[in-house]
Subunit: 216 residues, 2 copies
């Protein structure tokens, strides 16, 4: 990427905000908007204009004084930063409801990730199709991943299998694991990164807020 300062570490506070910029810019783009100022975007997103300018400047000067930001250009830059242009390829491991829900969603396509196949260990499911994706037996995992250059594995299998499966995937050279089991996986110092999803934590934030609302 030819953005500035590729070396110094971007704070995780900034990283967590990037996907939200991506979403808002996409909407602006789809709405046919050509340009946007940090001031106007800040109102839409309920953050300060200062923060937006600071965040973007971690990666480079994407705007123009007196003009603002070109929506299409900025969207492209953010996409680049987030790896959307990399054309990552993913498989889903576990063809239960959650796996199938993910197949049915436009989320991956919008983010430049191509879903390639499903895997399961149930003989009932294996051999079937869902949303144009074939469901393979889990024993075919090694061959499939190597042949198809898969970078990402989505874990939607029972948590009991998660750790073992993650190891297997790391050894296969899969570079990203998106983990929906409620286990916290992590590979320190590995070049396989794990993103743990704790959907229950979100439910807890909701109930916390409901609860503290009530006290007033």
């Amino acid at each position: 990427m030819e953005t500035k300062n590729s070396n110094y570490r971007i704070s995780s506070a900034v990283i967590k905000r990037l996907p939200r910029y991506f979403r808002y810019l996409r909407e602006l783009l789809e709405g046919g908007r050509m340009r946007i100022s940090s001031g106007e975007l800040s109102k839409m997103m309920n953050v300060t204009a200062s923060q937006i300018r600071q965040d973007l400047n971690c990666f480079g000067g994407f705007g123009q004084q007196g003009y603002g930001y070109n929506v299409k250009y900025l969207y492209g830059k953010i996409s680049e930063i987030l790896g959307v242009e990399q054309g990552y390829k993913a498989v889903i491991i576990g063809a239960g409801h959650l796996g199938l829900a993910l197949v049915g969603s436009p989320m991956f396509a919008k983010r430049g990730v191509t879903l390639s196949a499903l895997f399961d260990n149930s003989t009932e499911l294996v051999g079937g199709e869902y949303g144009n994706l074939h469901i393979y037996d889990i024993s075919e995992l090694e061959a499939y991943i190597k042949e198809n250059g898969i970078n990402i594995a989505v874990l939607t299998l029972p948590r009991a299998y998660a750790k073992e499966m993650a190891e297997r995937l790391k050894n296969l050279g899969v570079k990203g694991i998106w983990n929906f089991t409620n286990i916290e996986l992590n590979f320190e110092d590995s070049d396989t990164v794990v993103q743990n999803v704790h959907i229950g934590d979100s439910l807890m934030q909701l109930t916390y807020r409901m609860n503290s609302n009530e006290e007033k």
Copy 2:
């Protein structure tokens, strides 16, 4: 709740960490562990002991000098803070794969939330059952929610319906909306709280990290 300082605002940094404490404490409890020190917990969780003590002290002195924290007691306190003891009752709106995946998960039960029913607008699904839950027609929503004292609605319906449905729920007096559609809902100054889940943001964090890993 009889914890200290119920009045002053807890920072959102702390709130976001609470569910993780809840998870770790639960595991300790299930493992039969009686007590834990901030030092040991900090090693398990990869945070500083200082942070743990600070976080817990926002709500009260749950430990004991020279001893540490009683696991069961602390778990109880955290549960209280997070609203787990409130016995919230939830319905799921949208009986697609995502909705059904949630029904099948122990997540709600573990967090003190009782799933009560599913709603959908598809005549094929309405009248059916899934995981002991009845699937009602969406037209029955008003009556059902009032009769059954539902506090939480989980939105797993197509995003096009989300905004309208959220309004409807707010007017029905539902106190919490857990929104899985990719829309950002918010009710300022309402006593209905919305928790937006942006699962795609998590995917983007994964691809960001994969991408920045590659640059090295």
